[in-house]
């Protein structure tokens, strides 16, 4: 039977992230967590492959925090088993280390056909883990997938590359990263949620995977985040009103000519 591994990040729900009005810092600790959006698309795609061709869907999550609720949602959506590499030492690691930990975990899971990842995470939006993981595992990488077709031992992917679509083919095992547009992730039914509570969640720490805390702290950190500030967007916020639509429109046209963004030679 086919074996599909989905990498799931427990990300900060950025839509609910708030700023502390006194310190002007983002309250990342307090913000709720969820499955990163693109990763959820990857999971949905895996479940669709399962429904279509039959396969085992296994999720892998690397986290510094408790991730039970997040992972249970994945199981309720239709994953068969979840692996969680949970360790406080994982806090603040870079994409290279994340990919190394994922690779070690995946090696311990045995043979697989396909790894599905989200193109980027909603919080750090680095978009590197999938590419780095494929590189470490030495398997084909197909990014920005808009459509995924498994055909015998081949994987065929339609890639959305902003200015064009490309269809690309590779031999499995391979790694595919998916875009937002690939599907609409399902909302699990109550029945599915109940059934999921019986599914297995395997928890590992980094020592289980042969890492030491010293190694995580020192040589493996390739970047350092110095600061995260809240962007100041300074806009005029001028409200334009008129007796009727025509008058309002006139006001806008005048303002835009003054701004120098329209008019002059163009008109």
């Amino acid at each position: 039977m086919l074996r599909v591994i989905v990498c799931l990040k427990q990300a900060i729900d950025v839509t609910q992230l708030k700023m502390d009005s006194k310190t002007l810092r983002l309250m990342t600790e307090e913000a709720p967590r969820k499955i990163s959006d693109f990763d959820k698309n990857a999971l949905e795609e895996a479940i669709r492959i399962k429904e279509c061709l039959g396969c085992e869907v296994v999720t892998v999550t690397v986290t510094a925090e408790e991730a039970k609720t997040t992972v249970k949602e994945a199981l309720a959506m239709g994953a068969d088993r979840a692996y969680v590499i949970k360790d406080p030492k994982i806090a603040g690691i870079d994409t290279l280390t994340t990919a190394k930990i994922l690779a070690e975990a995946i090696k311990r899971l045995g043979a697989f056909d396909l790894i599905l990842c989200g193109e980027a995470s909603i919080d750090s939006f680095s978009g590197q883990v999938a590419a780095r993981l494929a590189e470490i595992l030495g398997i084909p990488l197909l990014t920005s997938a808009n459509k995924v077709i498994v055909k015998d031992s081949d994987i065929i992917v339609e890639r959305n590359l902003s200015s064009r679509y490309e269809t690309v083919k590779a031999k499995m095992p391979a790694l595919v990263s998916v875009t937002w547009g690939i599907n609409q992730p399902r909302i699990p039914s109550l029945m599915a949620i109940m059934k999921a509570s019986k599914k297995e969640i395997v928890e590992w720490n980094i020592e289980d995977l042969g890492f030491t805390s010293e190694k995580l702290e020192s040589s493996d950190m390739t970047i350092e985040i110095l600061d995260v500030s809240v962007p100041k967007i300074e806009r005029k916020k001028r409200k334009l009103e008129g007796e009727n639509a025509a008058e309002t429109a006139e006001k806008l046209v005048k303002a835009l000519i003054q701004e120098g963004v329209i008019g002059g030679g163009d008109f």
Partner: protein
């Protein structure tokens, strides 16, 4: 002693390469070091010549039929060989989707760090390079530095500007490296409709959001765009949910910085705002006076697009006749 030297620039998108060279030149001058452009392809002598006049002191050119079009493993192996051989301190790579994956894979082979989608690159007082990048869906800007070398960064289109043409011309050095076998095979390429592409390059964008309830209403936006010689864009729901567009503007789609951005019926969720924040002037038209888009707009009109847009079309036309 620091064995890593100089700033490198690469993009398979040639115009993006020239933009990156502009920034590379600026940093290199402050550090008193050299800028090297990497040009890969087949029969691309002209591109190498152009890179040499737009800021590169040196151009490493690999001209090989196997490099004619972008192929990940071939391009990656070429860049890996060059980087191992010549050890750049900083490597700036164009942040196309292929470029980003390439940069992350290269960084993995070199066991180094990569910062993607940098919106700014600066030097600290100690002359260390720091990058700024948008995080948390536009709610934060992270300042990041590298702990190891080479320092790899990816730069999106239109983040920096290419230099003016210069008389000073860099040296072109033709090289040859061994290329790896591809792991993937391209079967077909299908371009997107011309009118929908390259919103990044548009000077004026008329953008549609959920306020457009019927597909026919898009004609309003298109007519306005025609009068202004603008590109039409949209926010995510019109592409994702309604499938009226194949592309959208926002953090997960196209990031734009036009002179003028006209948001029609767009509510302005943070992911969308993050994609338009560098626009010079933002105009928002929305019937909901509490729409978050008004918080980041220069000019706000509360009203129905069906009334305001036709009036705008007339007003712009009148101004055009003068």
């Amino acid at each position: 002693m620091n064995e890593y030297k100089g700033i490198w620039a690469f993009s398979e998108d040639h115009s993006l390469l020239l933009e990156i060279l502009g920034k590379g030149r600026e940093i290199a001058d402050k550090l008193e070091t050299e800028v090297t452009a990497i040009v890969l392809g087949h029969n691309v002598k002209e591109k190498a010549e152009e890179a040499a006049t737009y800021g590169a002191d040196k151009v490493y050119l690999i001209d090989n039929p196997l490099l004619e079009s972008f192929q990940s493993e071939r391009y990656l192996s070429a860049l890996t060989s060059l980087t191992f051989r010549y050890k750049p301190e900083t490597f700036l790579i164009g942040s196309t989707k292929d470029g980003k994956a390439l940069a992350a894979r290269l960084a993995t082979r070199l066991n180094t760090g990569c910062i993607t989608d940098c919106i700014q690159l600066e030097l600290t007082d100690e002359k260390k390079l720091v990058a700024k990048k948008i995080v948390y869906g536009g709610k934060g800007i992270a300042t990041i530095l590298w702990q190891v070398k080479p320092q790899i960064a990816t730069i999106p289109l239109r983040t920096f500007t290419k230099l003016e043409f210069r008389e000073k011309k860099g040296q072109i050095i033709q090289l040859d490296v061994e290329l790896e076998e591809p792991k993937t095979r391209r079967l077909t390429v299908r371009p997107l409709e011309v009118s929908r592409i390259r919103v990044e390059e548009a000077e004026i964008i008329v953008s549609c959001g959920r306020g457009f309830e019927k597909k026919e209403d898009l004609a309003l936006a298109e007519e306005l765009a025609k009068v202004l010689n603008a590109q039409v864009g949209c926010s995510r729901p019109l592409a994702e949910d309604r499938k009226w567009f194949t592309e959208w503007i926002g953090l997960s789609g196209h990031k734009v910085k036009p002179k003028l951005y006209i948001a029609l019926g767009i509510s302005g969720v943070i992911q969308h705002v993050a994609g338009i924040r560098d626009s010079k002037v933002i105009v928002a038209i929305n019937k909901d006076e509490n729409a978050p888009i008004f918080e980041i707009a220069d000019y706000a009109i509360v009203g129905d697009i069906h009334e305001i847009v036709p009036a705008l079309i007339k007003a712009f036309q009148k101004c055009l006749q003068k």
